[in-house]
């Protein structure tokens, strides 16, 4: 996947978490403005960017837990896990403080993860994760 493909895919819509209330109300997830989020991301300091990336990674572990918890896992589920693991592999590499990436490279990594999530059907997880990461890092620092 080249950077043009990644940029194109961030134009597709990601959505934040749906909220279910005990009285039965359901508030659908809101669209995530990826460009705004990534612009703010690039202005964060290294610690805040690490927090952002760790939130995404942590959410993706829940995605894997959800897919594999009830065997048998379908072929499609396994394929999805493979690609989620690739995302985790890259995320956990770039948050290593001894091997820091630039903010721009980290933003490109997020774009790539988004593109892969659309291609491999885990965009719901990535949208939820990015919304949480943005809400808990970019707006509070």
């Amino acid at each position: 996947m080249n950077s043009n493909d990644a940029a194109k895919d961030t134009a597709r819509k990601l959505y934040g978490p749906t909220v279910e209330y005990p009285d039965g109300r359901v508030i659908p997830g809101q669209p995530v403005n990826v460009e705004d989020v990534l612009t703010q991301f690039e202005h964060l300091d290294a610690d805040a960017r690490s927090a952002f990336l760790c939130i995404i990674a942590h959410d993706l572990t829940v995605a894997v837990r959800s897919i594999v918890f009830d065997p048998p896992v379908t072929e499609a589920g396994l394929e999805r896990v493979k690609w989620i693991n690739e995302s985790l592999h890259r995320l956990t590499s770039c948050v290593n403080p001894y091997k820091r990436w630039s903010a721009q490279d980290e933003a490109m990594l997020i774009r790539g993860i988004i593109a892969n999530s659309f291609e491999h059907g885990f965009d719901g997880w990535v949208g939820r994760a990015i919304a949480a990461a943005a809400g808990n890092t970019t707006r509070t620092r």
């Binding site: 005990p22 039965g24 939130i55 829940v62 918890f69 719901g124």
Partner: protein, 87 residues
């Protein structure tokens, strides 16, 4: 335990109590969350929080197990909490 008016399936932890006896990391996590106030835990589970309460349609908890356990120990009506539903 207080009664809940929730229309959703009751929450069910996927981590049983035995885990906290068998797994020292899980035990440490439990000990940590027991030091937190109820308000802090509830806030941490809020949809949109960085480790929100993630729940399958059948009520199984895929994130927030230990915090829900602590709230249950305190008699908090956990089924009244908003949920982040997952597929």
């Amino acid at each position: 335990m207080q009664r809940s008016g929730s229309t959703k399936p009751p929450l069910r932890r996927i981590h049983g109590d035995a885990l906290y006896e068998q797994d020292s990391d899980a035990r440490r996590s439990l000990d940590y969350h027991r030091t937190r106030t109820t308000e802090e835990i509830v806030e941490s589970l809020r949809p949109g929080a960085d480790e929100s309460l993630k729940v399958k349609p059948d009520g199984r908890i895929f994130q927030g197990n230990t915090r829900i356990k602590v709230l249950e120990e305190r008699g908090f009506p956990v089924n009244d909490l908003p949920r982040d539903p997952i597929p």
